[in-house]
Amino acid sequence: MNQPSGSREQLLARAFVSLADTLVDDYDVIELLTRLVDYSVGLLAADAGGIMLADPHGLLQVVATSNENARLIELMQLQNDQGPCLDCFHGGAPVNVADLVEAADQWPRFVAAAMHRPVFRAVHALPLRLRGQAIGALNLWHHQPNSMPAQDLAIGQALADVATIAIMQERAIRRGEVLNEQLQAALTSRVIIEQAKGLLAQHARLSMDQAFESMRRYARSHNQRLADVARGLTERALHPDAIVTP
């Protein structure tokens, strides 16, 4: 995302207005979470970010990332079944790692995998919480060792809370239920979006990132939900040429 100009307060206000604006009746939760990751990265001067959500089996799934590197490092934690973002989710509390190299004792398999081809050195993981229950995590990655100031962490947590609200929907929260159904719908959207990315990447010889960006652009310019565009592609109602031809 391009960093808009203005003071951070202005940027923050703009981010919340834009996110609130997206929270209309028929919003697309994956698009909203992707936007939220982009804002978090921009506002908190991180290099990349991602959101993981727990499926009904209690397994974490990567649902939105700012780029492919962020997706890969989140997957590394899932594959090794350990890492700061998993601890953040299981503990329901932030986990801050100023330098991954020094955290090898804590998560030996994950750190070894991450340092095999080092891209990120620091991570701040913030829980997505609803009434004491963690449903996922917002993770912010830095290329260099980094310790985020408390003020930034507070902003990050506010953004994580917006993500929770986006997923759970105000209606569900008012009814006082943690609606796993909403999570389920987000996870189903994600499957369709990944399939559509592959279809588009193959058809137009794009990288997965480029395929995703083309779908987002198309969804925005045609005022459609990202999940609907992806579904259109996988169900052949929408030709991939329509997405990649400007």
Partner: protein
Amino acid sequence: MAERGAATRALLAIARDVTDDHELARLICRAFVDGLGVDGAALSLLTASVARHTLHATDATAQVLEELQFTLNEGACIEAATTGIPVFAADLGHGGEAARWPVFAAAVLEQTDVRAVFALPLQWGSTNLGVLDLYRRVPVGLGDEQRRDALAAADTAALMMLTLRTDPDTLITPAVRDGRHGSWLEPVVASRAEVHQATGMVMAQLELDAADALARIRAHAFANQRLLIEVARDVVARNLDFTDQDDVADETM
């Protein structure tokens, strides 16, 4: 992993030697009835393009519920199938969820002693593998834990239906029954982004729908004794292209 609920555990106990979708539907319905303490269940195929078809109903009442929805073209199951979101209607006699399908609710109350219905879509992305309807004769909903169990179990059941649908015919062999290939598609593998991305790529390579594309990838993995995730990664890395794989593709048809 969160602790597994009774319905999910009952599903996981289903042996891999089932090769018939009616039989699998019967076992799935049984697992939900036992695991969630509901009175009956039915599993129907219900998509826009395919004729509606009930694979299994545990009793006459469950069968009536399916027929009513198909006839009236409304109800919990139809809603779950079209929105992809589960429906939990704890009391058909008192508005709430049921207010969305007044004709269906009235017909159920008049023709059966059913008071609560729950409908779970069985899906993998946009691939609709069926809808599971559960009912209770008392107006009592599912608790939080049961709901979570129901969703995890629906996901597990969907992967079982998907496994059966994407099994290459030639591979239903004694080796499968002996358990050497003997597992259902598991959430931990089937939910990997690479599997979905590879599925999308093979959809474009061979002009297939998602389930058929997954079938080709699975067939290749079986034929080459490799893991599904490894084959998926090769496809995503563009080291494996199914347009060059006529030999393997033919085996799966």
